[in-house]
Symmetry: C2
Subunit: 193 residues, 2 copies
């Protein structure tokens, strides 16, 4: 299982945002939509055993997590608006799984980290060890990353207590969605047959 | 300069598509929007010296190219709808550069390939040489890739006459936008200092 946990500082925590203006009305919920596409989609197929968990910390009702699990996702296209429309539905009925398989729950970032604490956790960080030098073996990984604002220091410290390492993707600073694509590719090719 | 040339089989060639339904009304113009974000954006910044050229081959008026040059792009956000709204404007006035810097022109795939024929051209192809084994050095690259349908055989043959090599990204088949992200990362890290 690959799990991507994305910390979103301002993403709106109810369904009251405008699909025509995700960045502003949704508190950059577009970032989660792009990350979901990057995490879960291959060409013509969904990945198997891959999850993205967005932790939403915007108004009016933080924190809320959105979980999208590739093994149960259905009826969603990889375009931002399609993903966003299902996230909106999930947020309108917290605790109930939508027909798409997407679910919103009342959990904090720390709750989620604790939940995955018996898996190998890695924090994406510009000052971490270069991913090319990390021995990422096996098929069980949890990656934690922040949005364009970053993870608040106290939450980052909390995650560090459970993390195996901090890793970086090199000298450039990438969009969160690009980070996820790169990690997926890196893992796909880490143990070539 | 890095240039990504994306062949889009069905993308609509006038501005008459609905921003609320890019995949269907736009003939998968959402693919170009995601590819533009993958090609041009870093975190908090645009790349320098990077272009994406989408070759649109859908109705009613093919072919049309959309060129987005990171060096002149402005006022556009990385979300799909923002990119799409400027592409729509460019398509409504072919030959005129929009305020965003995005321009639509009456050119075919073969015109574009010919235009870049004095640069090192690589075709992304599942049966190509693995990118990890290619000596991609320098900072001048043109990459050709197809959408989810692929490049028609006659256009692919034409490109092969100018291409240095066909390259692959490994055993998985990725979304076009993911391919671009991976290539950008690979080049960013090909010659680490």
């Amino acid at each position: 299982m690959r799990v991507f946990i994305l910390y979103l500082n301002k993403a709106r925590t109810d369904g009251n945002f405008n699909l025509d203006d995700l960045p502003s009305s949704g508190g950059r919920i577009d970032v989660l939509c792009r990350c979901a596409t990057a995490a879960l989609w291959l060409s013509h197929a969904l990945r198997k055993d891959t999850k993205i968990i967005g932790v939403l910390n915007g108004s009016p009702n933080p924190p809320i997590t959105i979980t999208i699990d590739s093994n149960i996702l259905r009826g969603v296209s990889p375009d931002e608006r399609s993903v966003a429309s299902w996230i909106k539905k999930a947020l309108s009925d917290v605790g109930m799984r939508t027909r798409s398989g997407i679910v919103a729950e009342r959990k904090s970032f720390q709750d989620v980290v604790r939940e995955y604490s018996n898996h190998p956790i890695y924090i994406l960080h510009e000052k971490g060890e270069n991913i090319k030098k990390c021995a990422l073996e096996g098929d069980d990984f949890v990656f934690i990353l922040g949005d364009h604002i970053g993870i608040p220091r106290n939450d980052e410290r909390f995650a560090e207590r459970y993390a195996r390492a901090k890793i970086s993707l090199g000298p450039q600073s990438y969009l969160a969605s690009s980070c996820i694509t790169i990690i997926n590719w890196f893992l796909d090719n880490a143990n070539p047959t």
